[in-house]
Amino acid sequence: MAPARVTALALTAVALVAFPLAVGSKVWLNLAVLSGIYLVLTAGLILLFGYAQQWSFGHAGFFGFGAYVSALSAPHAGVWTGMAAGTVAAWVLGYAIGRPILRLKGLSLALATLAFGEIMHILFTELRITKGAIGISGIPSPSIGGIEIDTPRSYYWLVATVACAVLAFSHNIGRSHIGRALRALGGNEAAAKVVGINIAEAKAQVFAYSAALAGLAGALYAHYFTFISADSFRSDFSILMVVIIAVGGKDSFWGAALGSIFLTVAMQVLRVQSQYAMLFYGLLLIVVFMYLPGGLVSLVRSAAVWRR
């Protein structure tokens, strides 16, 4: 590995460990947890959007699906099992939806995924089991060896571990033949087919993978905030995901990290309530796409090139 990269990783590791020890404020720890949850979510989207060039504007549907599955099964089977169930269920749903829907391209795909997100939201609102706008409260917190993980600081450790594992796992996929296959099909489908890549299967797999990570993130979210309702899983949120990867840089995992952290920090620095935040996200989306299509990571890359 390049020395620059090793240094970056080492620094990040130190920062990750030092952060909760140095920072006492619950607010900041809370934001860190949120950043981590978004990071789990966006890691999968990097492979989907950045590598395979497939769009989805409905991933809040998978996020919510994972959240509900975990929240509803945890009281019976335990939190860890619930989270696993949420992740797996989201994977299955992602594969089932992905296989047919990814035959579409471009605007059709955008519309179909948007519709999917809306359909899920309607189901979350209308089905009795999800209790619609009233929501599910009293979601249990996870525990290890009898110790409950129910404070921002303890949850931070959980989320940081999961996020790091997810990022490493996703990065490995990206640098393997699978990652190359995804980039190939994102670049030129005909050539990819001829080289032996099963396009339909690869698309469905990456979609399912991103859905699984969204579901996992949803489960983490549910067990942290201990309350979820249909309102948490609207198209707004799907769009926020796009903002995060656009801002960070949609084909880079560092970008996903940058984007997640940048957004949650910005939210705090502006000392905002959520409505200002969304306004800010909206403006950001516009500005980034117009003037910085490569995202924040492209700034870092050009700075690195300059220094050589």
Binding site: F57, L104, S108, I119, I239, L284, M290
Partner: protein
């Protein structure tokens, strides 16, 4: 289910369908002339509706308030065009979707500051409750919507076929380079088409508001429905937009009546997805989205 029931569903279906058709048309006009798929289209409708409410609150007569609201939306549209569309004439699809989604959020949240999150109501066209017609009931508002929509289609047709401005927009939609070569100022035409689209969206908002009320978040649903209607009929085709809108409205109304009103949106969405999957050219099979 009696014939009167069916008639009822059909009437309410084509009423809402006309509104969707107008939004779908506005999508189509903007897309054909500028290549942008405007995911904020429904929010222009919302903006116009809420502005009208405010103007009425300033004691303007209703008709004036409505006209000013539509015009104001057009102006806002023009400004947005200048800021976000004109600078990047060759934006890819992903960029235009992302930028317009961002725009949608900005409009929604901006509206939230001014009008809060409650639903607002615009008074319907006539205070008389309902009319009766072959066993079905229909409100004056619905008739107003149908008549206005029909009138709008006729006007648009005349505009495109018989005015120089309209023909210029058509020419740009067909072939941007050729239009430029023939001396058409493509940038102005694109801006005109964009503003026209916004004005149509605004009109749709005004028409539908008395029936459904409107809050700052109503835009997204209208966007999805309008977009679905356009895609249903074959994206890029004006006739398709109209037919798609009507079909979508009928679909919704029938499923509300036969199945459940809470699931009507879901069924409409599902049908749209299925049609996308199996008939990529839309119902009329005229054009594909790429």
């Amino acid at each position: 289910m009696s014939a009167a029931d069916v008639l009822q569903f059909v009437l309410s279906g084509i009423t809402m369908g006309s509104v969707y058709a107008i939004i779908a048309l506005s999508f189509t006009i903007i897309f054909n002339a500028t290549g942008v798929v405007n995911f904020a289209q429904g929010d222009f409708a919302m903006l116009a509706g809420l502005m009208a409410v405010s103007f009425i609150g300033f004691d303007l007569p209703i008709l004036v308030a409505v006209i000013v609201a539509i015009a104001a939306t057009g102006v806002v549209g023009g400004a947005i065009y200048a800021l976000t569309v004109a600078p990047i004439p060759r934006a890819g699809h992903f960029t235009s979707i992302a930028v317009t989604l961002g725009l949608s959020i900005v409009l929604q949240k901006g509206a939230q500051f001014i009008w809060g999150t409650e639903s607002h109501m615009l008074a319907p066209v006539s205070s008389r409750e309902t009319l009766h017609f072959a066993g079905a009931t229909i409100t004056p508002q619905a008739i107003f919507i149908l008549v206005t929509s029909a009138l709008m289609m006729v006007l648009l047709y005349a505009y495109f076929k018989h005015t120089r401005a309209g023909q210029a927009v058509l020419a740009c939609s067909e072939n941007r380079e050729a239009a430029g070569l023939v001396g058409i100022d493509v940038r102005w035409v694109r801006a005109e088409a964009y503003v026209l689209g916004c004005v149509l969206g605004a009109l749709a908002g005004i028409l539908v508001m008395p029936i459904t009320t409107m809050s700052n978040t109503s835009g997204l649903v209208l966007t999805i429905k309008g977009f679905s209607a356009a895609v249903l009929g074959g994206f890029g085709s004006a006739a398709g937009a109209v037919i798609g809108g009507l079909v979508l409205g009928l679909l919704e109304s029938l499923s509300a009546g036969l199945i459940s009103s809470s699931y009507q949106n879901l069924i409409a969405l599902l049908v749209v997805v299925l049609i996308l999957m199996f008939r990529s050219g839309g119902l009329l099979g005229t054009r594909t989205l790429h």
